[in-house]
């Protein structure tokens, strides 16, 4: 008997839907085994995790608080990945967006009319994020510098700059020595919807919708798809690859920049520790799980945020390390990547043919 993969004649829609669902179930099983090995009841843990993330309205708003930057950064990542441009620098782009927005909120309030302070903060945050992704894009297009390295390294630049800024030059002089800037003027506060869940959710949903439309209904999205799927053919067909890569990466970085701007204006209302929590890395997993579809990024981000919040709550309730939520996030990706083969191939079990057995005899 022989088991092998056979190429499908067309894509299997069923496999495309089932793969993430089954992957999630497999990751629950795998994490369950690990929890059991630590003498922790997996069923109780999962129930508590779900309760912690979605049990009450207040819990749900906390999940949304984490879902907002995840939605935005995963949309940013998806835009770059659409071109097979491996932008793993969403974290740095988010942080830089946060720094820039803070700068506007803190120092431009003196001359900007109050009603413009918040929008300008967010726009400048977007521009800074875009710039942070635009640099690797230009390097890639002009000098063919590997983008995985440049985007990753710029994360460290951004994060260390951020640490330096809120602890150093921008530190609140009246802050009794605590690291962090002064609180932004109220005009720069992003309105909250419920609990701590802020307007960023609306931005995220609007951007997801716009991006979905751009990907699947516009000339721009069509060109992105051509470049991403077959760069050579795109060139033959007259698509300007360099311009598209730079443009897409400006958009990609800008969306992550907005995430950072919303974090500082919506949650802490100052620049302080806790901006770089790894959303930009989780975004990579989300973008993959969503098959780069902006509409799918939204629910997947909420699910991933649920794992984070749920992980925190089981730590409080059961003493399980909160890292368990992150472990599960990681665990989802493996079956997911392994499972994606089923959309193009199917498993075939066949009897050995006579030729092979003859060969065995010959040996």
């Amino acid at each position: 008997m022989r088991i092998h993969f056979k190429k499908r004649k067309s894509y299997s829609a069923a496999a495309a839907v089932l793969t993430p669902v089954i992957s999630f179930i497999i990751s629950l099983l795998l994490t369950g085994i690990m929890l059991a090995a630590f003498d922790i009841n997996p069923f109780k843990t999962y129930t508590n995790m779900f309760q912690g993330a979605f049990g009450t309205w207040r819990d749900f708003t906390e999940t949304l608080v984490k879902a907002i930057p995840l939605i935005l950064t995963s949309l940013g990542v998806a835009t770059a990945f659409k071109l097979k441009f491996w932008n793993i620098g969403a974290e740095g782009q988010l942080v830089l967006g946060g720094i820039a927005a803070s700068g506007v909120a803190l120092f431009w309030s003196s001359w900007l009319p109050p009603f413009l302070l918040l929008p300008v903060s967010i726009l400048v945050g977007a521009a800074a994020g875009g710039l942070w992704a635009g640099v690797p894009a230009i390097l890639k297009v002009k000098l063919n510098v590997d983008e995985t390295l440049t985007t990753l390294m710029l994360n460290y630049v951004a994060i260390l700059a951020y640490d330096g800024i809120y602890c150093g030059p921008w530190r609140d002089p009246n802050g009794y020595g605590f690291p962090g800037t002064a609180q932004f003027p109220a005009a720069a506060w992003l309105p909250r919807l419920s609990g701590r869940a802020h307007m960023g959710l609306i931005f995220a949903l609007i951007i997801a919708a716009l991006l979905w439309f751009a990907f699947y209904r516009t000339k721009w999205g069509f060109e992105l798809q051509m470049i991403g799927q077959n760069k050579k053919a795109a060139r033959v067909l007259g698509v300007n690859i360099g311009r598209n890569v730079i443009l897409a990466l400006l958009v990609s970085g800008a969306i992550s920049g907005i995430a950072g701007a919303c974090e500082v204006t919506g949650i802490a209302r100052r620049l302080q520790q806790g901006l770089s929590l790894g959303y930009g890395y989780t975004a990579i997993i989300i973008a993959w799980m969503s098959r780069l579809n902006p509409a799918v990024c939204v629910p997947v981000s909420i699910l991933m945020a649920g794992l984070l919040v749920g992980g925190d709550s089981v730590q409080i309730m059961m003493g399980v390390p909160s890292a368990m939520g992150k472990v599960m996030q990681g665990m989802i990706l493996f079956p997911m990547l392994a499972g994606s083969i089923f959309t193009e191939y199917r498993l075939v079990v066949s009897r050995r043919n006579t030729d092979i057995s003859e060969a065995e005899v010959a040996k």
């Binding site: 004649k9 067309s10 894509y11 209904r217 516009t218 000339k219 721009w220 069509f222 798809q225 051509m226 799927q229 077959n230 050579k232 053919a233 795109a234 060139r235 033959v236 067909l237 007259g238 698509v239 300007n240 030729d355 003859e358 060969a359 010959a362 040996k363």
Partner: protein
Amino acid sequence: MTAVTKGAGNTAPELILEMRGITKSFPGVTANDKVDLELFRGEVLALLGENGAGKSSLMNVLIGLYRPDAGQIFLNGKKVHIHSPKDSMELGIGMVHQNFKLVDTMTVVENVILGEKDLKLIPNMKKAAERIRSISDHYNLKVNPDKYIGQLSVGEQQRVEILKLIYRGAEILILDEPTAVLTPQESDELCNIISQMTSEGKSAIFITHKMEEVIKFSDWVRVLKKGKLVAVKKTSDTDPSDLAKMMVGREVLFNIEKMPFTPGENVLKIIKLNASDPNGIKVLDNISVTVRKHEILGIAGVAGNGQVELTEAVTGLRTSQSGEVLINGENLTNRSPIEMIRSGVSHIPSDRVAMGIVGDMSVASNLAMKGYRNKPIVSRGILRTSLILAFARRMISAFNISTPGPQTHVKFLSGGNIQKTILAREIDACGDLLVAAYPSRGLDVGATEAVRKEIVRQRDEGRAVLLVSEDLEELISISDRIAVMYGGRIIGIVDSEGCDIEKIGLMMAGIENHQQERGSRT
């Protein structure tokens, strides 16, 4: 070279390898059709044929990468079963692939012992290096075992591959187009290495589509054409033009009707165009040529003599160093692909899957890849999906594209239908010039006929067509004039009506035609 074996006519050479009736088919094509092969000890066999003639697949059968549908292999008179490259290596058969299988960041020694069967946990590198050095000295391979692969030139890397095979005890070496990547000097060195090996009783099979190399390197030559063995000759009994003729061969012609030849005004005019590749090797050498309305100019030549580069220069994909490309009188030298598209140039690229389609997008999307820029399919940047689908349905029926539907991903179609998809898109968007490179390569009879008919129809409707083909029959049956390229130059232009296939064969082999033909001065 190979004087040793050629002179030794009195002792009957020993048959070491025999392949009998090898047949291998892939969906839609028969790559090998009952092919026989014989190899004698101490001799070099050249396998000659166009791209897609089945040379590589025959060799892949021999080294166990493919399993034949039928046929047998005998080594030293004994039937053998080869199921993997490991099996063939054990039997003393090794292949130097066109793309070397070396690890750049490892040294020569490491590469040579990599994948060895009984590799110890801590291999004796010193001993291996010594053996490599002695083999290298013996065959004058000039390989330093301690260098990293990444530091070596292409020619040196190739010698490492050869060394690897000798190290592992190969008696039969298969070389897949070994000179394609070499400078003339390196080719000569390779020739010496091979003759040294054959003088010691090793044998070689040499895949090529260059006639001069056959003459230079081999004792025997076997010519493959469309998967079939069409000729077996002793190299001393043949010459380049003979080989060229066998390679392109005669076959039953489709009768494609076309209107009488009444060329109109110039559409494409190329003046003294010169281009080099990134390594500075000249790929287009002083090309001057004109294509007029109602005319198909065929470009003949053995693959790799500048034909593809010429189409690239006309479609904006290659920059030239000097010379001019004029379309309808407008100087469009070194413009971008989009500018060439806008000036009405359509392009059927040489590698249809890699350059002509986006496999993971639908047939409809692929058909729209020219039209998506134009109204009404796009308005204010927004695509109108319903119009794309309607356009696709129209094209699918007009060009008889066989697909489950317009939404099917194009990569699931057959080669012929992929080509029809490209053809439909390009012809619909075509202005005055159609550039087609190997449009019928690898297609079945039906699709080939459809593609040729469509190209002739474009000519009849008044377009100028630049057609590159390896298939001389195709060129003679549909083009109006034939330009022969060799070494990046146009070596002669002949009228295809009543042309002398022998003369074209000579020109393809690089033998210049001193008689000026009618039309060559246009």
